[in-house]
């Protein structure tokens, strides 16, 4: 007899195994690239001779030799060096670690605020629900990048810019998305017989929410997480580009591109090109994971029948490619309270 843990694991991966081949390939490729970025950052000291903030090398005799300024790509510096004598490749590797850390923390912040509020709002309903929905809608319609800039700007007055404040600025943007998805999912789950059964057996509200509702609602969170993750990388880079990211000279891709603008006038392209290539690669990888997962998990969500007839066309078509824009992120449709997340394109 398999252990309960094993059963749970099997249950968890079942949708993945029964998903279409395309979806599985997307998820796998995306995950692989993401892992490469993550692992490279931690193993960099073992296989790469420079560090992202290093501009000189210690010589055997104890003296320091500075790295060349704006050296073109060569065997010594595969992607060249910057105006400040940093090695571009080293900065890209370190920037990847920073981006992943900020993505992780920012979505954690958004989840920790958005999920409980969504549960409460959806379960309790009434006035609280209406107020929270309006507040979240208001935050949601606001241009995400501007919101992140303002939060970063306000935090600057109190904290040195670093991973925590950057993560907070990026995270605020995504709170409404978690809130709306969880709230709308809660609305439908709370009608289910098992929730009613628990309530009629006298279970406390807290028990009902945390044991029965939460675990059914939480399955929509990974999809939002992966779709937001890609967007969060772009938001962080945009903040960095505008000077509201982390403290220089910490390697950050957006900041590095902003520093490279001066270089292009003298024909130097490598300082601008490579950080952008890194962003595109990581964002694409995370998008692949998100869309693949969406494909994997979506059939389950669709089975709940909340989405209208219109989405059925997508439901039977795993081969539609990217139905990501249609389903679980368009919760606004349920009560007609405004535009769903669908068309937002998750971009800042």
């Amino acid at each position: 007899m398999p252990s309960p843990l094993r059963l749970r694991l099997q249950h968890a991966v079942r949708p993945f195994r029964s998903a279409s081949r395309t979806a599985r390939v997307l998820v796998t490729v995306g995950l692989l690239i993401t892992i490469v970025f993550g692992v490279a950052a931690f193993l960099a000291p073992t296989f790469y001779r420079y560090d992202g903030e290093q501009y000189r090398v210690e010589q055997p005799d104890g003296s320091f030799e500075q790295l060349p300024r704006l050296a073109p790509p060569s065997a010594e510096h595969p992607l060249g060096t910057t105006r400040d004598r940093y090695d571009v490749l080293a900065r890209i590797i370190d920037g990847g670690r920073l981006a992943l850390a900020v993505v992780l923390f920012s979505t954690l912040i958004a989840m920790l605020i958005g999920v409980p509020l969504g549960l409460l709002s959806g379960y309790r309903g009434g006035k609280l629900d209406r107020v929270l929905v309006t507040v979240m809608d208001a935050v949601y319609v606001f241009p995400p990048l501007l919101l992140a800039i303002i939060v970063a700007f306000l935090l600057q007055a109190y904290f040195a810019p670093g991973v925590p404040s950057a993560a907070a600025a990026v995270g605020v943007v995504y709170i409404p998305q978690y809130f709306r998805v969880v709230r709308n999912h809660t609305l439908s789950v709370k009608q289910e017989p098992y929730v009613e059964a628990a309530r009629s057996l006298g279970a406390k509200e807290r028990t009902v929410i945390s044991r029965y509702v939460l675990f059914n609602v939480i399955q929509s969170v990974p999809v939002i997480f992966t779709l937001n993750a890609a967007d969060a990388v772009l938001t962080l880079a945009s903040l960095g580009f505008l000077g509201y990211g982390v403290q220089p000279p910490t390697p950050e891709w957006g900041y590095d591109i902003s520093q490279a603008i001066i270089d292009i006038t003298s024909g130097v392209w490598w300082t601008a090109l490579w950080p952008g290539v890194a962003i595109v690669t990581l964002v694409t990888a995370l998008t692949l994971v998100g869309e693949g997962l969406n494909d994997v998990i979506n059939p389950l969500l669709r089975a709940r029948g909340a989405a209208g007839a219109k989405l059925d066309a997508a439901a039977d078509g795993e081969d539609l490619g990217e139905p990501a824009n249609v389903d679980p992120l368009s919760p606004g449709t349920e009560d007609g309270s405004g535009p769903g997340l669908a068309g937002r394109g998750f971009r800042s």
Binding site: L145, L234, I257, V280, G317, P323, V326, R344
Partner: protein, 343 residues
């Protein structure tokens, strides 16, 4: 994208409810702006000019500008100001906030309108053809374009565009809008429109010359999102019952495509175009920074840099107003277009 099986209310009821819902949202947004930018920073004068003025001067200016009044009084004054079109006086600019907006908004509007046209042109065309020619090399290329452009930061594309088209090829200027000498007589502040109105051919060319690079950069990025959406909509529409019915009735392929499928595939796109508006504003801030475009993004970045809370608050308030109005308009248009959308 409708309210599922909700009991269909009347169009009038929908429109009225939607308009009524706008007020609380607007009030909440304004309150948030006030809390974040007026209450949170404490004393705006000290924050902005603290290192340049003596304590007495700061005190005097705070008193004169009413920053020492009770917060509720200031809140009331802020809301009253918004109602009467007074967005305050920045501390680091001689103009009023409204004056700054009047000077910079046309530049942003011109940039975003141009970008929108590029986006719709590229998005609808590539998306619809991709959907029709599914799984052909064109489709694969179109989808690849959609994915990659979605992943590319707009400011990076801008820098690369400058590198290639301005510095290497020398086709377009690297940035800025137009020198005052070439600018057309100011009527609307939109240089392209003004040059057409004044029949100034050289100004028209010059303004387009400056507009092409930033506008196309911004437009392509937004267009990448359109490609994906139009394509999926087209695919869904092509396999829908009414297209099949149209085929069954013996209607020609071309007519089915254009009269039935394409038109319906565009309905959600109308919504999307509106929804992209917030992104367009965000993208405009970045594009303006890259191309030194003298628009509202540049203005707010300047206020942020100067830590001018009053100026930032004024411009953010304006953004909030615009965003709420645009989202109201989209929903109204959707309600008119799609009878399934009702409260």
């Amino acid at each position: 994208m409708s309210g599922g099986g909700s009991s269909g209310g009347s169009l009038r009821r929908y429109l009225l409810t939607r308009v009524a819902l706008t007020l609380p949202m607007l009030l909440i947004l304004l309150t948030l702006v006030f809390l974040l930018l007026r209450v949170a920073p404490g004393d705006p004068i000290r924050a902005t000019l603290g290192d340049r003025l003596s304590t007495e001067e700061i005190e005097a200016r705070s008193e004169a500008l009413g920053f020492n009044d009770p917060i509720l009084v200031q809140y009331g004054r802020y809301l009253g100001g918004v109602l009467t079109g007074d967005l305050g006086n920045p501390l680091t600019d001689r103009r009023t906030t409204l004056g700054v907006i009047a000077d910079t908004f046309p530049a942003t509007l011109e940039l975003t309108l141009f970008a929108m046209m590029v986006a719709i042109g590229v998005g609808v065309l590539v998306g619809a053809v991709s959907g029709r020619l599914r799984d052909t090399p064109f489709d694969v290329g179109g989808r690849l374009f959609g994915v990659l452009i979605y992943a590319a930061p707009i400011f990076w594309l801008g820098v690369l565009a400058q590198l290639v088209f301005s510095l290497r090829l020398g086709w377009f200027p690297t940035g800025s809008r137009m020198t005052g000498f070439d600018a057309p007589r100011d009527i609307t502040g939109l240089y392209v429109l003004d040059s057409i109105l004044t029949l100034d051919g050289s100004a028209l060319l010059a303004s387009l010359h400056h507009l092409v690079l930033p506008g196309t950069t911004l437009g392509l990025v937004i267009g990448g999102i359109f490609v994906r959406l139009v394509r999926v909509n087209m695919l869904q529409t092509l396999r829908s019952d009414y297209v099949e019915a149209a085929h069954a009735r013996g209607i020609g392929e071309r007519s089915v495509l254009f009269r039935h499928a394409f038109k319906n595939a565009l309905v959600p796109v109308v919504t999307i175009i509106g929804l992209q508006f917030a992104l367009l504003l965000g993208g405009a801030i970045l594009t303006e920074r890259v191309f030194s475009w003298p628009g509202m993004g540049t203005a707010i970045l300047r206020f942020l840099e100067a830590r001018d809370y009053v100026g930032v608050q004024g411009i953010v308030t304006f953004f909030a107003l615009v965003v709420v109005i645009v989202s109201l308009l989209i929903d109204l248009v959707n309600g008119l277009v799609d009878p399934r959308i009702r409260y």
